[in-house]
């Protein structure tokens, strides 16, 4: 997984290491799929994340946090949708970003693969549990 550009025309030479620079795209390279996911998720999370954090911890007293808070909130289906979308997008965005940072610091493909798998498994398990809870929680 990489957020950087990869050359479209590999030619006879080995691929140029991506540098994360953006002007390169104009010189005959294409963005990787993960770069597009990061961009798309960034624009959506730009709204969702502050909305979540401010709505959960600032506009409501943290001392009154509990099941009742979510029962009230999830009576509105839009909040369920937003919370579920936040988990999915934030985990995808964060997973790709964290993977890029950590694998950039290790040598060897085995270590990089181990990091990628560990991040993917942890985020997938926690994310699936949270999304199923958000979607299936009984408000009664």
């Amino acid at each position: 997984m990489t957020t950087a550009e990869v050359p479209v025309d590999a030619g006879a030479e080995p691929p140029t290491p991506p540098t994360g620079n953006d002007d390169v795209a104009a010189a005959g390279t294409a963005r990787s799929w993960s770069w597009h996911i990061m961009q798309l998720s960034s624009w959506i999370l730009l709204v969702l994340l502050p909305l979540h954090v401010l709505g959960t911890w600032v506009f409501h007293d943290p001392g009154h946090f509990g099941v009742a808070f979510y029962v009230d909130r999830w009576h509105d289906g839009a909040w369920r949708l937003l919370d579920g979308l936040l988990v999915v997008l934030a985990f995808v965005h964060g997973g790709i970003g964290l993977n890029g940072v950590l694998t950039g610091r290790v040598r060897g493909s085995a270590a990089s693969a181990a990091i990628t798998i560990a991040i993917a498994v942890v985020l997938a398990v926690v994310g699936l549990l949270a999304v199923s809870t958000i979607g299936g929680f009984d408000l009664s």
């Binding site: 002007d23 993960s34 999370l45 994340l49 600032v58 099941v67 970003g97 993977n99 940072v101």
Partner: protein, 151 residues
């Protein structure tokens, strides 16, 4: 908290070219960019704040998956009223705001490349926006504990 401002201030002074990491948000240990090719500058604190936000979301999502056991979840909720928990929440709010404003700066640099010439000013706006929103939020988060304690 002061380090956040201090390091970013140093970034403002440092005019050396950014060193992006392959696939990452960070600049640490990355190869130098090509001569004359300059993307949106990245900051170490952008990656650190992102990691803090991701950690918070993982903990929040893991806790949320236990909401069916209502007594346990409410007990955790009660703990969020303590001063220590409120200070941790302040840290999460700060990381969220910084990552959001810094991310907006980078998205703008991607969408409108000529804004890269104003990167220094944009970084200053990131810091200003972060603290301008964060400080009132800190007051709102901590004040109920202060009012309760001094009553």
């Amino acid at each position: 908290m002061d380090d956040l401002g201090t390091d970013t201030d140093r970034d403002l002074v440092d005019t050396s070219p950014p060193t992006p990491v392959e696939g990452g948000d960070d600049v640490v240990g990355a190869p130098e960019p090509e001569e004359g090719v300059e993307g949106p500058s990245r900051s170490r604190w952008g990656a650190i704040s992102g990691a803090v936000v991701l950690l918070y979301l993982v903990v929040w999502a893991a806790g949320l998956s236990h909401i069916a056991s209502r007594a346990t979840f409410n007990r955790w909720g009660d703990a969020m009223g303590s001063l220590a928990a409120r200070l941790v929440i302040c840290g999460v709010v700060l990381a969220t705001l910084f990552h959001t404003f810094d991310g907006l700066r980078r998205l703008l640099a991607d969408a409108v490349p000529r804004t890269r010439a104003r990167d220094v000013q944009l970084r200053a706006w990131v810091l200003f926006g972060t603290w301008a929103v964060a400080l009132p939020c800190f007051a709102v988060i901590v004040w109920p504990w202060v009012a309760e304690t001094t009553r």
